[in-house]
Amino acid sequence: MIFDDNLKRSILLDHYQNPHNKGLVDDERYHLIHNASESCIDDIKVQMLMEEGKVKDVRFDGVGCTICFASTSIMSDLIKGKSKEEALDIINNYYNMIEEKDYDPDLLEEANAFDTLSKQANRIKCGTIGIHAMEDLIKSYDGQ
């Protein structure tokens, strides 16, 4: 799935202006990670609920630039309802795309909008800060 630039732009604008899964919940079962970037404004909190090996819910909130909010919003949609292995696979494919390695575009759906982010070295952090948090959150459920 390769998008043209117009479509990419409208996907990102839409997720930035109306982010999905935004707003934290007050629920002890959720794990929380706070990630801040030293180079950009990005300062976000991500919450996750995993049950029976599945990502039941992902929430996030904070301040962030377009790339940060849009990537976090898109990825939260992508991994919700997925098993731990499936979610990590999607995340790894996303990293591979950002690092210009082989990846499976079919797994990434709207996240394909970031397929040229690798060319913007100073913005890669923005496009991965929320996703790193999700990866760490999934792993934080290990052994529980």
């Binding site: 630039d5 990419k8 732009r9 990102l12 604008l13 930035y16 180079s39 950009c40 404004i41 630039c65 377009t66 790339i67 909008a113 970031f114 040229t116 982010l117 913007q120 100073n122 913005r123 923005c126």
Partner: protein, 408 residues
């Protein structure tokens, strides 16, 4: 006559990258050919260590190295080259002052005065020194627009047992010039010493250390047309005598024996242990000469003209907020409503316009201007009104969609 077109011909980067519009000289400046040649010459013609070899190249290089102190002295309107210590840059100078001098001269209950508009390099060393000496840090409250408030400063001097005052001569976020002369006079009345961070001042304005009566002043060569990794600490002689070198080793000692008795060399060499950044010093010399040839007053006038022009243009735009409409020195700080600074920065980059976005290492300034992130356009002697027009045009036309388009 100050002729920008002629000046630009001295900077090879404009030939190599003709489309580039560079408004980030506060981060680092471009280098004129004479500075590049000086560095190159050291590598291609006159490679030698200083003060060690009994041969021509070493003599030549050593003389140039020593002469640099005189040239820097002249730039600072000072009469004693021995007060010029070469460091790795402004950060190294600030650390040498904090650790080398104040660590041994502060005690519990003493106060170090700073402002909330500091560069990290002028805050973090003080945090450490305060921790180690049990001295306390207090911040002089600034005016609402981020300018210095002399009454607040006087109040601090009256209220606290102030021993050290450390301030930027020119703020790297808002471009305001602090009244260092008055600050020094008031501090000295109370027996306190003043360290001025000259990183953004020395490249842009006439600095007269004798007239200011400033105790310490550090700066970097790379922001004033010189090479990276080299800078200067100017300090009063008596204070240098009482400063402990942060490094010891070859070149800094006159004699030592196996029992640990060491006689250190004279000031300022004792602060320059090890083989120094020789080519950096030689480049710095040319940079100072270049600036003095143009005249610091002329440079300031030019910078100011471009800054006023840019502020005038940007302030006609409804969606732009300027944080320092009264900027006094080379810096315009602003934001575009509804778009994060970094996103605007990416858009400008796609048009070949270089600015800095972010918090400019001044992490605590949001207490003053109500935002952590700004777009900073900084101006120097080679910038033109045409370049300001390009920046203005880009900001006038910017939209969130265009910013996203520039990134993906």
């Amino acid at each position: 006559m100050f002729d920008v077109d002629k000046i630009r011909k001295d900077f090879p980067i404009f030939k190599n990258d003709p489309g580039l519009v560079y408004f980030d000289s506060a981060a680092t400046s471009f280098k004129p050919q004479c500075v590049i040649d000086a560095v190159n010459d050291f590598y291609t013609r006159h490679t030698a260590n200083i003060h060690r070899g009994d041969y021509d190249n070493s003599f030549i290089v050593s003389k140039d190295y020593d002469d640099t102190r005189k040239v820097v002295s002249k730039l600072l309107h000072n009469d004693d080259p021995d007060q010029i210590v070469f460091t790795a840059g402004a950060t190294a100078s600030l650390n040498l002052v904090a650790y080398g001098y104040f660590l041994d001269h502060l005690k519990e209950g003493d106060v170090i005065l700073l402002t909330l508009a500091e560069h990290a390099s002028n805050i973090l060393p003080w945090f450490e020194v305060a921790k180690k000496t049990k001295a306390r840090i207090e911040y002089i409250p600034l005016n609402e627009d981020g300018t210095f408030n002399i009454d607040n400063y006087k109040e601090c001097l009256d209220k606290y047992n102030v021993r050290a005052v450390s301030l930027p001569y020119v703020s790297n976020v808002l471009g305001y010039i602090n009244p260092i002369k008055e600050i020094c006079a008031l501090a000295h009345e109370k027996g306190a010493l003043v360290n001025a961070d000259g990183a953004q001042a020395v490249p842009h304005i006439k600095v007269d250390v004798m007239d200011l009566d400033v105790d310490f002043l550090g700066f970097s060569a790379h922001k004033m047309l010189g090479p990276s990794g080299i800078g200067v600490l100017y300090a009063k002689k008596k204070l240098l005598e009482e400063t402990t070198p942060m490094m010891n080793g070859g070149g800094a000692n006159a004699r030592f024996n196996k029992d640990g008795e060491v006689i250190l060399k004279e000031i300022p060499v004792r602060f320059e242990a090890g083989t120094p950044n020789i080519e950096g010093v030689l480049g710095l010399k040319k940079a100072c000469e270049y600036l003095m040839d143009l005249g610091m007053d002329n440079i300031r006038k030019h910078d100011d003209e471009i800054v006023r022009y840019l502020i005038g243009k940007l302030s006609t735009l409804d969606n732009v907020k300027i944080y320092n409409p009264r900027s006094e020195c080379s810096i315009v700080a602003f934001n575009v409503e509804g778009i994060f600074a970094q996103d605007v920065g990416s858009y400008l980059n796609s048009l070949g316009i270089a600015v800095r976005t972010g918090n400019h290492c001044a992490k605590v300034i949001d207490n003053i201007i109500g935002t952590t992130e700004t777009i900073r356009a900084s101006v120097y002697l080679y910038n033109t009104k045409e370049e300001a027009d390009k920046l203005y045009g880009a900001i006038r036309d910017v939209t969130l969609e265009k910013c996203i388009g520039a990134i993906i």
